[in-house]
């Protein structure tokens, strides 16, 4: 009886422990799901929101055929890049932008009243008699006097977010939430980094895998691995005080904070990953293949170029993709050295913004739940998707390699 009870107790204990282990085993899965849920919950709620500041109305004359306008168009109009209604699909008439600040050029202080009490009347009058007007007034300056036409503003959509060409999230009256410059900045810097790191990394991998003696390898390998242990913030700082001034002098630039500086820092950081992964790939080349090549009279160098590199090609490409993924997501090293520019970059010698750096730099200053806050989470979603795809590709390559080897 007693031993039976003991056995049951023991069974229960075993099963209990297995349950605990299983729950722990699923923690990473739960974490990934939670990250997706919380990121997208905040990020997706950006879409469908108006980019316009609260309480601002867009006023036009009744004769204006337009019904809606975009945030980018408002910015271009106030920057005087757009000066005629024809450019945005309206009648051929020049645009007269009027806000509360310009009102004094049309009316004297007396006409507007000591406490601006006549402003609503005057706005209404001005809009009524000016066919080309575009008025931007807060509701407090309109009162209930306004009788003319309103323009509605197009909401932020996934399309305008991904392909908008300007990122000025705090611009007034209409926030510019286009992340194309940030996406392109991220890609420029990351691909630049791989361009530097890949040839150097592969060269070092060949040396370590095929040429270096055992003692040399055992000295160099740990040193290169140490490189991956240095915190990214230290790399960023090093880039700021060393690489940025060098680039500024070398290319005679006004500022050294450029995409190139970011690429170089990221290249140094990506080296350990690229070297380790491609060296591992080269080491899996079957001995038979190498020896067959040597027996045919090929030199060791010919064997490396014609046998080992083609054989480990998929592993090397996985290393490259992995390096790009790391570079895309890197924050602190980049934030120090790339400077910031909110427009689409054309060369690596320009200041650039990358997605992670923008999130890190701006999230501290926004109010929770606001439009800008949500936009930064939407940026996080874009970054997450980019790196997730990269990871899946790498995992696919690795699983295929394993499969082929068996």
């Amino acid at each position: 009886m007693v031993s039976n009870l003991n056995k049951q107790l023991k069974d229960f204990k075993e099963r209990f422990i297995e349950g605990i282990l299983m729950v722990s085993g699923t923690v990473t899965t739960v974490a990934v799901l939670l990250i997706i849920i919380f990121l997208f919950k905040e990020g997706v709620s950006l879409f469908g929101k108006s980019p316009l500041e609260n309480n601002i109305s867009i006023l036009v004359n009744e004769k204006n055929p337009l019904t809606a306008i975009t945030a980018a168009q408002i910015k271009d109009i106030s920057d005087q890049k757009i000066t005629n209604w024809k450019q945005i699909g309206g009648a051929d008439d020049s645009i007269i932008l009027v806000t509360i600040n310009e009102l004094s050029t049309y009316y004297t202080d007396d006409q507007l009243g000591d406490n601006l009490q006549f402003v609503p009347d005057k706005v209404n009058e001005l809009v009524g008699k000016t066919p080309g007007i575009l008025g931007l007034f807060s509701t407090k300056n309109l009162g209930d006097k306004y009788t003319h036409k309103y323009l509605s503003i197009k909401d932020i959509t996934i399309g305008s977010f991904l392909f908008g060409k300007q990122w000025f999230p705090t611009a007034t009256p209409a926030a510019q939430m286009g992340i194309l410059p940030l996406i392109l900045g991220t890609l420029w810097v990351s691909f630049g980094a791989i361009l530097f790191a890949l040839p150097i990394g592969i060269a070092a991998a060949i040396y370590l895998a095929e040429i270096a003696g055992k003692r040399m390898r055992n000295t160099i390998k740990p040193i290169i691995e140490l490189l991956s242990g240095i915190p990214s913030v230290v790399f960023g700082f090093f880039g700021l005080v060393v690489i940025v001034p060098i680039i500024q002098k070398l290319f005679h630039l006004d500022v050294g904070e450029t995409g190139l500086a970011g690429s170089i820092v990221l290249a140094i950081m990506a080296l350990p990953t690229i070297i380790t992964v491609s060296e591992d790939a080269m080491r899996t080349t079957p001995r038979l293949m190498k020896e067959a090549s040597l027996a045919l009279g090929a030199t060791q160098w010919q064997t490396i170029v014609r046998v080992i590199i083609p054989y480990s090609f998929s592993g090397i490409s996985a290393a490259a993709i992995l390096g790009i993924g790391r570079a895309i997501g890197e924050t602190m090293a980049v934030i120090f050295v790339t400077g910031s520019a909110n427009v689409i970059p054309h060369t690596l010698l320009q200041p650039m913004h990358t997605i992670p750096a923008v999130i890190a730099a701006e999230l501290g200053e926004v109010s929770q739940g606001g439009r800008h806050y949500k936009a930064l989470f939407a940026l996080g979603c874009v970054l997450f998707i980019m790196t997730f795809i990269v990871n899946l590709i790498v995992q696919y390559i690795f699983s295929k390699r394993k499969h082929n080897q068996v």
């Binding site: 722990s24 060269a203 913030v233 700082f237 140094i268 160098w301 890190a360 996080g380 997450f384």
Partner: protein
């Protein structure tokens, strides 16, 4: 027409040129590492003193020391490890010892790899959204430790898994054959053999946690605090964040360069010691296994 002898000589010459280029590139990578280390050491060593390590920052971060940052980083290391280490080890035990081959195991592995690939700034966003705002922890040691803990969880799991894999199956079979249960085998036989490598994983994760900046930006780090944290709900100053703000956004960026170099040196020395310790342990362990 070229003679075979000439061709052979040409081939050899090409090879030796190529090898020298590869050798040169590999050495220059080592050179890069040493120049980074050397630069930080030369510039930072002047700032290091006992006072620098044990006193508070003064005069808008231009004078004084980094004592609160060191303490803050230690708190974050302890906090994140309390969370990540046990769960990571248990998780690895499940994956390697308990779960059966199949889609579930593959799926868990895939998710662990994916978690490892999530950029650190995304962890920061997530930590802010879930821990700081949703669960109302506020910017606090609690929120920061949990965020950092999630970040290093895949590293703990991976290194523990490696450690468990290196234990030969004969130990498992021997123990089971003696009538021990699964858990008895795992806890009394496998873990004791594997634990030095598990500890190596722990140390590597500590190295990672102490250098991470992006995840703590919005979950715990503070630019300046009047006193040391007294509860889990308090913010802390931390070494990597301190380096970031002192080097970029302080009001006296030029005057506080000395402090920035000093902080970078302390951070680098901390991380290097941790990594070397891990390497050393790994070596000792591999010797021990060979002796068996």
């Amino acid at each position: 027409m070229e003679l075979p002898k000439d061709i052979a000589r040409k081939k050899r010459r090409n090879q030796s040129i190529a090898f020298w280029i590869l050798r040169l590139i590999s050495f220059s990578i080592v050179g890069i590492l040493f120049s980074i280390l050397g630069f930080i050491i030369v510039k930072g060593i002047g700032a290091i003193s006992w006072k620098f390590l044990t006193s508070w920052p003064e005069d808008g971060m231009t004078k004084g020391g980094i004592f609160p940052c060191i303490i803050g980083t230690i708190y974050l290391i302890i906090g994140s490890m309390i969370f990540a280490f046990p769960i990571g080890v248990l998780s690895a035990l499940y994956i390697n010892e308990y779960s059966k081959k199949g889609w579930f195991k593959d799926f868990i592995r895939l998710m662990t790899d994916n978690l490892a690939g999530v950029p650190s700034i995304v962890f920061g966003l997530f930590g802010m959204s879930l821990f700081v705002n949703q669960l109302h922890f506020g910017a606090s040691i609690l929120a920061g430790s949990l965020t950092l803990g999630l970040l290093v969880l895949p590293i703990v799991i991976r290194t523990t898994e490696e450690a468990l894999k290196s234990v030969p199956d004969m130990f498992r079979h021997g123990s089971m054959a003696l009538g021990a249960s699964k858990w008895q085998t795992t806890s009394k036989v496998i873990l004791p053999i594997a634990y030095p490598n598990v500890i190596t994983g722990l140390i590597l994760s500590i190295g990672r946690v102490s250098g991470e900046t992006a995840p703590i930006l919005f979950t715990v780090a503070a630019y300046s605090l009047p006193k040391l944290p007294s509860s889990l709900k308090d913010q802390v100053m931390a070494l990597p964040y301190h380096l970031y703000v002192v080097a970029t956004s302080g009001t006296h960026v030029e005057e506080s360069r000395g402090m920035a170099y000093g902080t970078a040196l302390v951070l680098i020395v901390l991380v290097l010691i941790i990594n070397l310790l891990a390497n050393w342990l790994r070596k000792i362990f591999s010797k021990k296994v060979k002796m068996n």
